[in-house]
């Protein structure tokens, strides 16, 4: 037998050992994340689909990085070359705003990656200073930090090209500015974590943030007609005086060399002071965490459970449920469908984040119906309805995801999976129909010309087709590629409702079916047959529904065949 020897514990643990161990941990986690858990069992078709979808996805991701970086470099060059100092200020303020905005949203992206919660390091004997260092270093490769830092580097390069004598100071000031942004993002993140510890608060915040993201894209619509410049730049110009006392102002002044060398270093010092303030705000919360602060509502579960139990012990059971002898147990209990529907309703009602998330596409529909599509009613209605259902549709592709280990109940209980899935799909359809109806209403109200009855009926049948085909594909993906997720959780657990492949699949299916509208509309116009769309989409709807029914009748066999995958993915760590 191996003997465990106790350590003398006199030496302090070298910082290099712990920092090296964490770096090694992150590296191994990254390397291991490239290993596919399903590599052996994955079908060739699924593999090809995953590769094709990634080939589409990666250039999009690359554009998200390349765009802001080149843009920042160009604006910085223009600001110096064109002697427009306020442009530099606006650029730095914009980078800061976007950095923080992406960082706040980034927690959701990070949560969908196979990573770990940095506060889990607290259980190890890590001194506080080292913990601060680790928390500062961990997360430097988040999208906000990478894109923000590269944009600042590009800005420094742009400044250097326009005016080489400013290059060194630009590099120094923007380096410090990047540090300030890193600690500002960390401070905001850790304080938000504290303030949003409650699930409900977190969900409401998530929903509001989603609305803000969509609204932000359309700020440009609010510009006055007489000016060609964005009102954002206009507002930045006007607030330049106030911004002089904020980090973008100090960074810009340090680069531009206003007031001589002494003032330049003074500005750098003040920029450093801002970074120190944010570091202090970050460190304050880290220290609370280090001392064992109760933060998440997860910890609260144990006392809450205790409280409930105290109550339940004292309360007598008031309801009689009938004895075993009295009721013959049938092989398949009746009432599975109503029970499942009730459960889905209760789950949905408790998920504020999801409900608020339903509002976001409607805002977009409202904006679009007043803008781009406002004068094209034939395309506007299906476009609006298709967009509105796109986001909530993603959940259909991982219908067992929120159940987690609860899936075992369905596998063990004497129920038909057909009933379980039907109930879940009915709940999803109700939600999607409500969303589509609201989008429909908004579109009809906002349309400048009346939408013809043929278009409306054609769109309704198209919607039935899209719902049927997505429910069929979604059910198939839910069984074959399930993924555990907990709604409303921002950290520790993967929070994305579907895998990226499924998310892209739903996007592809809805987009492809939307594209179908174009030839059908053109054909009906050219042939002067306004009801042609109704016949075509009517036929497709029937075919889609038939496909769904066929799938549903085979769903129990499918679940049995994929039982291992379901248990492994939903019940595992």
């Amino acid at each position: 037998m191996v003997e465990i020897e106790t350590e003398p514990h006199r030496r302090t643990i070298p910082a290099s050992a712990q920092l090296g161990a964490v770096a090694w941990l992150r590296w191994r986690m990254f390397v291991n994340s490239l290993r596919s858990r399903q590599a052996g069992g994955r079908k060739v078709g699924g593999l090809i689909l995953a590769i094709v979808l990634r080939l589409i996805l990666w250039p999009v991701f690359a554009l998200w990085v390349i765009g802001p970086v080149f843009g920042a470099g160009y604006v910085a060059w223009s600001a110096i070359d064109g002697h427009k100092p306020l442009w530099l200020l606006a650029l730095l303020a914009g980078i800061c705003f976007l950095w923080q905005f992406i960082a706040i949203n980034g927690s959701n992206i990070a949560a969908s990656m196979p990573t770990f919660e940095p506060s889990s390091l607290l259980r190890f004997p890590v001194p506080f200073g080292r913990y601060v260092l680790l928390r500062s270093v961990l997360g430097l490769l988040t999208p906000s930090t990478v894109v923000g830092s590269l944009a600042l580097l590009a800005s420094a390069v742009g400044i250097g090209i326009a005016e080489p004598r400013l290059a060194l100071m630009a590099l120094l000031a923007l380096g410090l500015y990047a540090l300030m942004n890193i600690y500002l993002a960390r401070m905001i993140g850790i304080w938000l974590e504290r303030l949003l510890a409650g699930r409900r608060t977190r969900e409401i915040f998530g929903g509001l943030l989603a609305i803000a993201i969509v609204s932000f894209q359309f700020l440009q619509l609010g510009r006055p007609k007489h000016t060609h410049e964005s009102w954002i730049i206009d507002a930045t110009m006007r607030s330049a005086q106030a911004m002089r006392w904020l980090p973008p102002g100090f960074a810009a002044d340090a680069i531009l060399g206003r007031g001589g060398l002494l003032a330049q270093f003074g500005n750098l010092l003040l920029l450093g002071a801002w970074a120190a303030v944010f570091l202090a705000g970050f460190t304050y919360r880290l220290h609370k965490q280090y001392l064992g602060e109760h933060l998440s509502d997860g910890v609260n579960n144990s006392p809450a459970t205790a409280r409930t139990q105290h109550r339940s012990v004292a309360e007598p059971a008031r309801k009689r449920v009938g004895s075993i002898a009295a009721a013959e147990r049938p092989s398949v209990p009746p009432g599975v469908l109503p029970a499942m529907l009730r459960k889905e309703w209760l789950t949905m009602r408790g998920n504020t984040g999801q409900l608020i998330g339903l509002v976001t596409p409607l805002i977009f529909v409202w904006i679009m119906s007043r803008g781009l599509f406002g004068h094209h009613p034939a395309y506007m209605l299906p476009g609006a309805v298709g967009y509105a259902i796109l986001t909530p549709m993603a959940a259909v592709y991982n219908i067992f995801g929120p159940e987690g280990p609860g899936i075992q109940l369905y596998l063990l209980a004497p129920v038909r999976m057909r009933d379980v899935l039907l109930a879940k799909n009915i709940a999803s359809t109700a939600l999607l129909s409500a969303e589509a109806a609201l989008a429909w209403l908004i579109t009809v109200k906002a349309s400048t010309t009346p939408i013809p009855a043929a278009t409306q009926l054609g769109t309704l049948l198209w919607l039935v087709f899209v719902l049927a085909i997505n429910l069929a594909l979604g059910t198939l993906r839910s069984i074959q590629s399930p993924r555990k997720f907990m709604p409303g959780q921002t950290r520790q657990v993967r929070s994305a409702p579907t895998s990226r492949t499924s998310a892209l699949l739903v996007l592809a299916v809805v987009t492809a079916s939307l594209m179908l509208q174009i030839p059908v509309t053109r054909l009906s116009r050219n042939l002067h047959q306004p009801w042609l769309g109704v016949w075509i989409f009517g036929g497709l709807a029937i075919a889609g529904l038939a496909g769904y029914v066929v799938l549903l009748s085979n769903v129990d066999t499918l679940v049995q065949r994929n039982r291992d995958v379901l248990e492994k993915e939903l019940c595992g760590v």
Binding site: A17, Q18, A21, P125, L291, S302, V321
Partner: protein, 278 residues
């Protein structure tokens, strides 16, 4: 040897709810201490406070004679714990995980490597090199979490249901290892709902009920009923209380202590009261 774990008036509140109320634990060095309580008694909350994961609202904690709040990093080095939910890094292999933990606890590379191999062998996990921790069974994960808890040679070990999901053979060797550790002066603080295990391994017991420490002492003292006055007999449970105090099992003692409400009334409902079992 002085107390390894000592708390005074340890209290934890969550909002207006007092989860743990003025708990005064005393665990001597080298003791195998069983910490018992029904579900929701706040055992885990206390363990979290004792391991420095959760701050107490008031009261003090001393581990190995040192104040936990002032020297937490030093003390954590001497503590081994299987955290709530095991807190394993699923995207590592068992070997990678143990090496990481060893380094975090300040073991040098050679010692970490040597102990990793020994523990993998001991826990029968050496052949699972290709598997990620996330693909381990529950029992394998438990064994790995235990290995990680002892790799640095802790002087105080906190174990929450350590044998849950572990096969009988492994459980046997683990028990032997834990007993050997106590023989070497390691203090073990164990919680388990399997009272037979606690009775077999532990020399001292603490019982918590609704956040209050209701009994504490050696197993013999507890059996003899010296730590708590016998409650009035409960309907349908005469068998438990009729026996001589010294011959009672831990389960009987435990039920006597926590199975009755403070006012003497029965807390739990009798099975006959269930409508479908009448």
């Amino acid at each position: 040897m002085g107390p390894a774990i000592e708390t005074a008036a340890l209290t934890r509140r969550f909002g207006d709810f007092t989860a743990v109320r003025e708990v005064a634990l005393r665990v001597e060095g080298g003791q195998f201490y069983g910490f018992l309580g029904p579900n929701g008694a706040c055992k885990l909350t206390i363990i979290k406070m004792l391991t420095g994961v959760l701050a107490p609202s008031s009261g003090s904690i001393r581990i190995l004679g040192q104040d936990l709040t002032t020297s937490s990093a030093e003390l954590k080095r001497q503590i081994g714990v299987v955290p709530e939910g095991m807190a394993l890094f699923g995207r590592l292999t068992a070997r990678e995980y143990l090496r990481f933990v060893g380094r975090m606890y300040g073991l040098d590379r050679d010692t970490t490597g040597q102990r990793t191999e020994e523990l993998l062998e001991f826990m029968n996990l050496a052949g699972e090199d290709k598997k990620l921790v996330t693909d381990f069974s529950h029992g394998m994960q438990k064994k790995l979490a235990l290995a990680a808890a002892v790799i640095h040679g802790p002087r105080v070990l906190f174990l929450d249901e350590p044998f849950e999901g572990v096969d009988a053979v492994a459980a046997g060797t683990l028990k032997a290892m834990l007993q050997r550790m106590t023989a070497h002066g390691v203090t073990i603080f164990l919680t388990s709902h399997v009272l037979e295990i606690v009775e077999r391994l532990c020399t001292h017991i603490g019982v918590i009920h609704r956040g209050e420490l209701v009994a504490q002492g050696s197993l013999e003292e507890l059996r003899a009923g010296a730590l708590k006055p016998s409650p009035p007999p409960r309907p349908g449970e005469e068998l438990l209380t009729r026996e001589a105090p010294g011959s009672r099992t831990l389960e009987q003692v435990f039920l006597e202590i926590v199975g009755t409400e403070r006012d003497g009334s029965t807390g739990a409902r009798a099975p006959e009261e269930l409508s479908w079992l009448r």
